[in-house]
Amino acid sequence: MTDNARLFLISRGFELLKEIIRAAILISGFYFAYLAIAELAGKQTEALLAFHYFISRDNDYALPWIISFASLLYAGMQRRLRLKKTQEMQGYIQELELKIDPNRTSSGLTTTGQTPAGGI
């Protein structure tokens, strides 16, 4: 086996291990949620629970969740804007730099500054 193939196998093995741990955490989360729902099943409807959650002062009227989701949405929109701006600006930068240094080397990233699909 060549060095590169060995390295590829080992690093992919570690990546797989990380994915397994991540999946185990998510599956445990769903499992515990299922247990909680199963225990309350038939005693109260989900719609009523959600309604109570949003009007309950104990739960701060769900404000922390609402603010968190609004922030995530805002961050997502800002990111899209930034990528769009990057795409627009990089063309000019590349053009100007090539005029000064015709042998200019590239980073190999996409025009939005991200890793190309399938690696660099």
């Binding site: 690093s11 570690f14 949620a33 968190s68 000064i100 240094d101 190999g108």
Partner: protein
């Protein structure tokens, strides 16, 4: 279990799951993008230095540092502790290649101010990659929080060993980035 307990339980589970999603999703992209932006800024500064005539575009030093910065820009998304560990396991018996050493490249330069500036670009790039490597891993982040006070005290008392540790860490990171570059080409593009 009453309704309140149920809500609390679901809230905790949802919080943990959203945190995991956030950490391994948007947070990873944010860190990689931040590192790349800083590296691009450094590359721009280097370009301006050459455009102002401080260093030639055709000089070996300029090409070396520009390629190093490009290499770290490409490597930023692959800089994880598991990747580094894989390199350490596979590459432990190989002697370091001095042609890739920044000290070797800059030692021949007559302009010491310029040499230090170029070394500074390289050092900052390595530090940025190292910081990204830590903040992208929950395991390393927690380990760093626990060990940081001890490490700081230790670095104050044993500066020589700390310097050796920092330079050998930089060498390992550089080697990982370099091998990742060629590995990707040989595996993905073949």
């Amino acid at each position: 279990m009453n309704a309140n307990e149920f809500v609390n339980q679901i809230e905790v589970i949802a919080s943990i799951m959203i945190f995991i999603w956030f950490f391994y999703g948007p947070w990873q992209s944010f860190v990689v993008d931040t590192v790349r932006q800083n590296l691009f800024e450094m590359r721009d500064k280097l370009f301006l230095m050459a455009a102002n005539g401080n260093v030639s575009f055709e000089s070996g030093e300029y090409k070396f540092v520009r390629e190093k910065l490009n290499m770290f820009i490409r490597y930023a998304h692959a800089a994880t502790w598991t990747h580094l560990l894989s390199i350490l396991i596979c590459d432990k018996n190989k002697a370091p290649d001095s042609s890739f050493d920044i000290e070797t490249v800059t030692s021949a330069m007559s302009d010491r101010i310029l040499a230090n500036a170029i070394k500074g670009f390289y050092r900052d790039a390595v530090v940025m990659i190292a910081v990204a490597l830590v903040v992208r891993s929950l395991f390393l982040l927690i380990a760093m929080m626990i060990t940081l006070p001890v490490t700081l005290v230790f670095s104050l008392f044993d500066a020589a060993r700390t310097k050796r540790f920092v330079s050998s860490s930089a060498r390992i990171l550089d080697r990982d980035a370099r091998l990742s570059d060629t590995t990707r080409f040989s595996i993905v593009r073949n």
